[in-house]
C-alpha cells in the first residue's frame, strides 16, 4: 500500500507499518506518532533510535529486551507509548511489527 505523509509517498503494509525502512525519516516518524496521539520528546526519540539499532542488528525485540536496554524502564515505556508500546513504537520507528509473544 502507498501512504502519503507530508507529500511523500511511502510503502506501508495493511497495518500501517513501513515496508521499506530506507524511506523512513524523522518527519515521517513524527507524523505516525501524531496519528497515534503521541507528541514526540527527546526520550521518545532515544527509544526509537534504540529500536532501530536493534532491528538493524537483527536482534529480536521483546519487552524483556526493553528492560535490559538501559535506555528506558518498562513503566516509562508504557507511559510514553500508550496502547501497546512495542506495537506503537515500532510503527513510529519504521520497522516491522515484532512477531514475539513476549
Amino acid at each position: 500500500m502507498i501512504k502519503t505523509i507530508k507529500q511523500i509517498a511511502i510503502n506501508v503494509n495493511e497495518e500501517g507499518y513501513l515496508t521499506d525502512f530506507s524511506q523512513w525519516t524523522k518527519e515521517i516518524g513524527e507524523e505516525i506518532a501524531k496519528e497515534n496521539n503521541i507528541e514526540m520528546t527527546d526520550k521518545h526519540w532515544q527509544v526509537i533510535s534504540w529500536i532501530q539499532e536493534q532491528v538493524t542488528a537483527k536482534k529480536p525485540l521483546s519487552i524483556r529486551g526493553i528492560k535490559k536496554s538501559g535506555v528506558i524502564d518498562i513503566k516509562e515505556f508504557y507511559a510514553l507509548f500508550p496502547g501497546g508500546p512495542l506495537k506503537v513504537s515500532t510503527k513510529i520507528a519504521g520497522v516491522p511489527k515484532p512477531k514475539s509473544c513476549i
Binding site: 529480536p60 521483546s62 519487552i63 524483556r64 529486551g65 528492560k67 524502564d73 518498562i74 513503566k75 508504557y78 500508550p82 496502547g83 501497546g84 508500546p85 512495542l86 506495537k87 509473544c101 513476549i102
Partner: protein, 150 residues
C-alpha cells in the same frame, strides 16, 4: 482480560503470565488473581522452584510410572527451563516484575492465603492486595471483560 491462576505447575503459570503480558503489549488491560496452588507463584520462597508435572500429564509422553520416579520432575523442569531461556523467556520472579511494571495488576486470594497460613510478607511486594472472590468479581463487572480460569 482477567486471569485466575489456580495451579503452580510451570506450564500453567507461564500460560497465565504470557497471556497477561501479551494483553498488556496489545494495549489491553490485564490482571491475575492467584488462588489455591497458584499462590506458589507469588511466594518469595517458592516462586523460583516451580516444576513441570510429570505424572498425570499425557503430553509428557512418558509412562506415568516413570514420571513418578525420584528426580523426574526436576529433570523435566530443568529441560523445560533451558528451552525457555533459549526463547528469552524470563524466570518467574523477573516475569512478575515485568508484569507489574507493565501495569498488570496482581491479586492474592484471601481464602487461599488463610488456608495456607501465609502472611503478606510471604508474598512478593508487587502484589496489589489480598482480596476476596467478591472483590475480584467487582473488578470484572464491566463491559468487555473476560475471565479466564487457568
Amino acid at each position: 482480560m482477567l486471569f485466575i491462576l489456580s495451579k503452580a505447575t510451570i506450564e500453567n503459570v507461564y500460560a497465565a503470565f504470557i497471556m497477561a503480558n501479551g494483553a498488556r503489549m496489545e494495549g489491553i488491560e490485564s490482571e491475575i488473581f492467584f488462588t489455591f496452588f497458584g499462590l506458589e507463584a507469588i511466594q518469595k520462597k517458592k516462586l523460583e522452584h516451580l516444576r513441570v508435572a510429570t505424572v498425570g500429564n499425557p503430553a509428557m509422553h512418558i509412562p506415568t510410572m516413570l514420571g513418578g520416579l525420584p528426580g523426574m520432575e526436576a529433570l523435566a523442569t530443568k529441560m523445560m527451563k533451558k528451552e525457555m531461556e533459549k526463547l528469552d523467556m524470563p524466570p518467574v520472579g523477573e516475569f512478575l516484575e515485568i508484569l507489574s511494571d507493565s501495569g498488570c495488576k496482581l491479586w492474592a486470594c484471601k481464602l487461599a492465603v488463610e488456608m495456607f497460613h501465609l502472611k503478606r510478607e510471604d508474598l512478593i511486594d508487587e502484589i496489589e492486595d489480598i482480596i476476596t472472590v467478591g472483590d475480584f468479581y467487582a473488578r470484572a463487572d464491566q463491559e468487555n471483560t473476560h475471565l479466564l480460569f487457568i
